[in-house]
């Protein structure tokens, strides 16, 4: 319909079925607006027209309490409107559930509190879903722990992620760009930070990107790679660089306390060194820093050795006074 109106109500339309869903919205919106105006104008008109005048004596009022014509209209008109809405809602819905045969399949896994994406030709990304434009993409969703829900507003699509079960959604992106992904099923402390991005590329560009995926880039210095991983692997959801505490301790604090004792919630303590950082990433539940909750998931299988080294180097680099 009108572009400015779409921009006002909705995020961009990026999937093939988005405009159909928006049009359904406008149909319900305008029908509702008419019904709403009938209610409000009727209410205001009747209450003012039949208001009790000042010092008007009480009188017997009309015994009229039904009108077959009006009541039939009030029944039939909404019935017609909701029937159209229902059928339209189902027809559009079927377009959203019937996945084209030629769709490429990407596995989406929700983990508290990040998303991983596994691509058909191998390789994995974290919090960045890369898809080709004008190609149907089928997402197979599940969760590693609690419920999550995978929501891409620009695609007008959403599906819950359940542990031990697979749900399916699909879309065909029509415009290249970078768009938001949100988690919409409450999943605990980091729920509101469990965002990701979908990057829609031209198919050729996607092919190139996919073939490079998984290949190590040895040319980047370790601490720079670590800085990149810090956001790519969603460390920043729970750990800050500036010393303030979020869900977990700040990396700056860890950096400043290098070679010093850290106390854990079971009363034990240990010196912070490279081995400590490595095991905290791979087995986060074994040593929990006092004052924090043991809610971090394991990164076993999500980081290779060079990436682990990179993160260690990056954490150490945060403290400017450090000799290392």
């Amino acid at each position: 319909m009108f572009d400015w109106l779409t921009e006002f109500f909705f995020p961009k339309q990026v999937s093939t079925f988005a405009s159909d869903i928006d049009n359904l919205f406008y149909f319900i919106f305008y029908s509702s607006l008419v019904l709403f105006l009938i209610v409000v104008i009727g209410m205001v008109y009747l209450s003012i027209k039949y208001r009790a005048r000042k010092d008007e004596p009480l009188r017997l009022t009309s015994s009229k309490d039904h009108s077959n014509l009006l009541e039939s209209l009030f029944f039939i008109i909404p019935l017609i409107l909701v029937s159209i809405t229902f059928v339209w809602g189902i027809r559009s819905y079927l377009k959203m559930v019937i996945v084209p045969d030629d769709a490429i399949e990407i596995k989406v896994t929700g983990v508290s509190w990040f998303w991983t994406f596994d691509y058909p030709d191998g390789g994995q990304t974290l919090n960045e879903l890369v898809v080709p434009s004008n190609t149907p993409v089928k997402l197979v969703l599940s969760s590693k722990d609690v419920l999550h829900s995978f929501f891409i507003p620009v695609m007008r699509s959403k599906m819950d992620c359940l542990p031990n079960r697979y749900n399916v959604m699909w879309f065909d992106a029509t415009k290249e760009g970078v768009y938001d992904i949100f988690c919409t099923e409450y999943c605990g402390t980091g729920h509101s930070a469990m965002g990701a991005q979908v990057i829609v590329m031209k198919p050729a560009q996607y092919e190139e990107w996919a073939s490079e995926l998984g290949a190590d880039d040895d040319s980047i210095p370790l601490d720079e790679l670590g800085a990149r991983l810090y956001t790519q692997k969603a460390c920043n959801t729970c750990h800050t660089e500036d010393g303030s505490a979020l869900v977990g301790p700040s990396f700056l604090q860890t950096s400043q306390m290098y070679e010093q004792e850290r106390v854990f919630d079971d009363g034990t303590s240990s010196v912070i060194d490279d081995n400590y950082v490595r095991s905290s990433i791979l087995e986060p539940q074994t040593q929990i820093v006092a004052g924090y909750q043991g809610v971090m998931p394991t990164y076993q299988g999500l980081l290779n050795d060079r990436e682990l080294d990179a993160l260690i180097a990056y954490i150490k680099s945060l403290d400017g006074d450090s000799q290392i």
């Binding site: 919205f25 209610v39 039949y50 929501f151 031990n164």
Partner: protein, 540 residues
């Protein structure tokens, strides 16, 4: 008119024990009212805390953990400790026996037991709060609720216990409506508030046991590790959602039907006009109560249930909408050729019609599966159910309080202040929740402690108006209780709005401890404004 009444239930008998052990439905109703309003204020403060945090993105006021606790407690307190028990418990208890001409409810001792069960359950909820809260959301979705280290067990135990209070009150009301009506007061002569309470009670006794069972299963899973809902133990989290919504969708009607009843009383009385479509309103109450049991699946449109289920639940959902719509038209047409006075209860009733219509119509958007998938678990849903629950139920409740206040407590509040507060509630409510429809359409998910920059403007707008809403509700209620403190007494025979049902014409204000000094005789129906003139009597 009854003159020279010496006794009323508030002052006779005297002493603290006479209150704690009272079997008088009016005193029990008053105790429900006071405790309900305390929880309402508590839930309201939590809501303002949330809005304050959401005024700007980022965790600038409270942490995410605190936010999660606050929104969970807000929901749980408002629903389980205020809306569900307080409207039937307070207004229902005080008015139902008076309206049917009975001396008390059918089982007065059971009624007192109900109140104590409610209080006992509420203690668990209070314990949850002082013990550090609970962070699962009022829906307690598994497996998060089986794994969370917060106070899931005390809270669900509290809800389990309060459920029994709900069931017993429902049972009591059903027996009262069936067996305690005076001769001549046939079903079609009953005030519609009685029909509404009857429909509510039917839902309470049939749906609440399912919630109780669900809560027991949840606790068994946590304590004994029996895998029912947690996939890690071999359970099914979607099964939990089915169980939960099988209760919680009908619970929406436990919350809204009494509000329909209140509106069906306020509008004819303040318009001095026979109600439009009496039988339709009465039967639609029962049909909504019934159909309400068959639509729970629309809370699960993104859970991955089968396509066939999606279609069936979407279809049945619309069948709740149609009778509700005709009800709204009936209330409006009731004013036709009446004598409408813009008293505080009427202002609340008119604002109910405005707000509830928005709440109902936005339900149509959510019933369409394809559109719901975009809107599910966003602020659109938050706005929708607040338009129904607060704009509908709580606005009707405030209207009902203002309507029956002089009758129940024999005092009159300042009507100018009451009108100003009613306008404040209306404006503040729309200002707070209307922007949330837009937030949801633009993709803002619910239950977020922080959010991205694109949503700032609408969120801060919503927060600003929530302050006005909070102040208006607070002063509206203070204004009511102030009249009580100030002993701004009305004449004992007072009928300030010219009501025609038994509680207005046959009892004093406040009523006699035994309700009626002599056995009431049925003379005219509750809405016979075309047959009899009942004078408005009101003296300070």
């Amino acid at each position: 008119m009854i003159e020279n009444v010496k006794q009323n239930y508030l002052t006779h008998p005297k002493g603290i024990m006479s209150w704690l052990l009272t079997l008088d439905h009016k005193r029990i109703g008053l105790m429900y009212l006071v405790s309900g309003i305390l929880f309402f204020f508590m839930g309201g403060l939590l809501a303002l805390g949330m809005r304050l945090e959401l005024a700007a993105p980022g965790n600038d006021f409270i942490s995410s953990e605190q936010y999660n606790n606050i929104y969970t407690l807000h929901g749980a307190i408002m629903i389980f400790l205020f809306i569900i028990p307080a409207i039937p418990g307070a207004l229902g208890n005080i008015l139902l026996p008076l309206m049917v001409g009975a001396k008390d409810v059918a089982f007065p001792r059971l009624n007192l037991a109900s109140f104590y069960i409610y209080s006992f359950g509420a203690l668990f909820a209070l314990y949850t709060i002082v013990n550090g809260g609970v962070d699962t959301g009022w829906t307690f979705y598994t497996p998060y609720s089986t794994q969370s280290s917060s106070n899931v067990v005390p809270m669900t135990l509290g809800i389990f216990i309060i459920g029994f209070s709900s069931i017993l009150t429902g049972l009591n009301f059903i027996a009262t409506v069936h067996k305690m009506r005076i001769p001549g007061l046939t079903w079609y002569k009953l005030p519609l508030f009685v029909w509404a309470l009857y429909g509510t009670s039917l839902v309470q006794i049939t749906a609440t046991p399912v919630l109780a069972i669900t809560m027991v299963l949840l606790m068994l899973e946590r304590f004994l590790g029996i895998g029912i809902f947690d996939p890690a133990l071999g359970g099914d989290p979607v099964l939990y959602q089915h169980f939960f919504w099988f209760y919680s969708h009908p619970a929406v009607y436990i919350m809204i039907l009494p509000a329909f009843g209140i509106i069906s009383e306020i509008i004819p009385v303040h318009s001095r006009k026979k109600i439009w479509g009496y039988k339709f309103i009465a039967y639609s109450t029962l049909s909504i109560a019934f159909i309400g049991f068959l639509v729970w699946g629309h809370h699960m449109f993104t859970s991955g249930q089968s396509v066939f289920s999606q279609i069936v639940f979407s279809f049945i959902t619309y069948f709740v909408g149609i009778p509700t719509g005709v009800k709204i038209f009936s209330w409006i047409l009731t004013m036709y050729k009446g004598q409408v006075s813009f008293t505080p209860p009427m202002i609340y009733a008119l604002s109910f019609l405005f707000l509830f219509t928005i709440g109902g119509l936005t339900g149509i958007f959510l019933g369409a599966v394809a559109l719901d998938i975009h809107l599910h678990d966003t602020y659109f849903v938050v706005a929708h159910f607040h338009y129904v629950m607060q704009g509908g139920t709580i606005v009707a409740f405030l209207g009902g309080l203002h309507h029956w206040w002089p009758k129940s407590f024999g005092t009159m509040y300042n009507q100018t202040i009451a009108n100003i507060c009613a306008f404040g509630v209306f404006l503040g409510f729309n200002g707070t929740f209307f922007p949330q429809f837009l937030l949801g359409l633009r993709g803002m998910p619910r239950r977020y402690a922080t959010y991205s920059e694109q949503f700032v403007e609408l969120h801060s707008y919503s927060t600003f108006w929530s302050g006005i809403l909070g102040f208006s509700i607070f002063f509206a209620i203070v204004n009511l209780f102030w009249s009580f403190m100030k002993r701004n007494k009305v004449d004992p025979g007072s009928n300030p709005w010219g009501g025609m049902s038994l509680e207005w014409t046959h009892t004093s204000s406040p009523p006699h401890p035994h309700n009626f000094e002599t056995d009431p005789v049925f003379e005219h129906g509750p809405y016979d404004y075309d047959k009899v003139i009942v004078e408005k009597t009101y003296k300070k």
